[in-house]
Amino acid sequence: MPTSFLVLLLLSLTAFSFILGRRRSLAVSAGDIRKLNSLPGYYGYYVALWCGVPALLIFIFWHFFEGTVISQLVLFNLSEHTASQPEQQLNLVLNEIRNVVYGNIPATSVAPEITAAANHYRELQQISNMALTIVTIVLAMGCAMLARSRIHTEQRARNKVERVIMIFLVVCSSIAIVTTLGIVLSVLFEAIRFFQAVPVTNFIFGLEWSPQTAIRSDQVGSSGAFGAVPLFTGTLLVSAIAILVAAPTGLMTAIYLSEYATPGIRSLGKPLLEILAGIPTVVYGFFAALTVAPLIRGWGASLGLDVSSESALAAGVVMGIMIIPFVSSLSDDVINAVPQTLRDGAYALGATQSETIKKVIIPAALPGIIGGILLAVSRAIGETMIVVMAAGLAANLTANPLESVTTVTVQIVTLLVGDQEFDSPKTLAAFALGLVLFIVTLILNMVALYVVRKYREQYE
């Protein structure tokens, strides 16, 4: 039975057992649901969960191991000569066998031994398929029947179903933790290797960043060319410019949309701005480098300022435009959710609309607004392409927005996708940068949480 068909079958069995459970609960209560501990639907879910979940788990488990098991069996039957090849080579042989099985290459073009193995493979697959079908269906039906038979009026089906939902919720929340762990682990070891080559202090306090030259001249450590300070100041500068553009515009837009604009304008303006978040960053990069940067340079020249052709300002401004919707849409939602009674309270005291907004609504919506701004800041910190194209890659230690800077992420990307070398500090530096950035933003977020807590105003 084809996999998709089996899945469909299991799904319909699950749906059917929902009905079964519901029916059963009505039957044991003689049709009077008031006698039941929980609503009939919950008994339905209860049976459906018993039907679907174990079968699905087996199904996934099976698919996870099926390939390996069959492969091992097939390899076991290969001739001495073929089987004695190194394991990696066997992997290729298997691929060839599978290619024959799936008809990607004609059976005539390969050795007879492979053809035989392919036939064997096919047989095993059929057996496995058969077994899986039987096992899952029997399991699904068995569990469903068992669950159904256990339904009685006192059974707390709702609690059980809710517990399953709760488990689901907890598992989902733990994904964030697991992701964090994964990210830390995936950069930690390489970062440690980097720090074995370059002292941590040099990295964190060094003022010069020039990874390539350092390797070439083999001056690692002594020249301090792995000083991350210019990268972090660059990140700070560009993100600060971006947020200076995005936060006021975004917030004012949100206020305008939710408080002043007619519903028509609001329902048009908000999604329109949300498009800004989805334009690929390459496009922004071109926009920044070819439109905004020359513009700023021209203005600068007319004011007698010396503007670099790749300025942090151009990159920052364009990045700011990109993250406007993070602030505007999220803030609009939370501002809209502030209860009308609060507005009424302020209006009745003779407050103007802007006073009401500034002094009552914004404070009440502050946690959500800060959340939006933090998200925007995060996006700005994590953005790469715009800076690469518009601010360049030169690691200048400067606070002047008219000069070119580079950011941590840009360096991570260029180090990782450029011409990397095995185990050289240059490549490893990317991981160290990732780790340190992670820690820095973690600290920033803790501060932000503390501040938000302190100023939070909970309505009602």
């Binding site: 609060l342 009424d344 309270g345 003779g350 407050a351």
Partner: protein
């Protein structure tokens, strides 16, 4: 205070007030559509607020029907009537709070000191500063108690300095009878107070900006008798300078504090009269039914 002195408002059907004879009470049932003519003394000389033919619609619901009513200077007017009869709605017209409800439309003429408040050129900010309001459901800001009260004086620039502001806050809380209970926790959020405390907080907030007219929508509903007495005293004190309109369900309260009482029924203003009179000799059948507890 004569009916003839009333100026007519063009574009509306002309107001024809009749004093229904007490011996022949007006019919006790009202169709929802019919325009009821108000009996009693609708007008006063030199009113602070004069309403003529006010109608309020929520979408297609006609919540307030053709109501004309004057509020005099230094007068306390009580509005009574069964729940849902349009008291709050009418009250909210007087400082244009209905502007904030999307599907709510108000027609008719409402004048404050002779000035049409629904006029486009009218600035609602000083209007609402002059006509203060206490809402039916207490709605403290999610700020500290102090900030709740200081909000009004601060936006209007009523205090020259911190000390003055503090004084305004304290006096307002004292007047509302809340000071003693919360003087140690002025920095607690207003939302963490008990129901009655919140209500008094809102009263204090409203009087902190010294309005000339105060609209109070059931200000004592969540208050114990003692706190109620404090508020009633406050009203008596304030009415030497200001006008007060109060919605209440307690006839005793209406009797105790108000000079005139207006009885609303299904969106109509049935009867307005001096309070003594309305509670002793109601003219309209509906009024007397309500007062004696026969409607329900």
């Amino acid at each position: 205070m004569s009916i003839a002195s009333r100026k007519h408002w063009s574009g509306q059907n002309i107001l024809q007030l009749q004093k229904a004879p007490a011996t022949e009470p007006v019919s006790g049932t009202l169709s929802a559509q019919s325009d009821q003519r108000t009996v009693g003394t609708v007008t006063v000389d030199d009113p602070r607020i004069r309403c003529t033919d006010v109608n309020v619609y929520y979408g297609s619901t006609h919540a307030v029907k053709n109501i004309s009513l004057d509020i005099g200077r230094n007068e306390i007017v009580a509005m009574i009537g069964p729940s849902g009869c349009g008291k709050s709605t009418f009250l909210r017209c007087l400082n244009r709070m209905n502007d904030t409800i999307d599907n709510c439309s108000v027609t008719g003429n409402i004048e404050l000191d002779g000035q049409d408040i629904n006029d486009n050129s009218i600035d609602v900010v000083p209007l609402r500063a002059r006509v203060g309001m206490v809402f039916q459901k207490p709605n403290p800001f999610p700020k500290s108690i102090y900030e709740n009260i200081a909000f009004g004086p601060r936006i209007h620039g009523l205090a020259r300095d911190k000390a003055e502001l503090e004084e305004i806050v304290i006096t307002s809380l004292q007047k509302a009878g809340l000071w003693k209970e919360i003087k140690d926790c002025l920095d607690q959020p207003g939302t963490s107070l008990s129901g009655g405390q919140q209500q008094r907080l809102c009263i204090a907030r409203a009087i902190a900006i010294n309005p000339e007219v105060i609209l109070m929508d059931e200000p004592c509903s969540a208050l114990d008798p003692i706190a109620t007495a404090v508020i009633e005293d406050l009203m008596n004190e304030l009415c030497t300078d200001y006008s007060i309109v109060i919605v209440t369900h307690s006839m005793q309260q209406a009797a105790r504090v108000s000079h005139r009482t207006a009885y609303f029924h299904l969106g109509n203003l049935i009867e307005v009269a001096k309070t003594e009179q309305i509670f002793t000799h109601p003219i309209h059948q509906l009024t007397s039914d309500y007062i004696t507890g026969r409607i329900g």
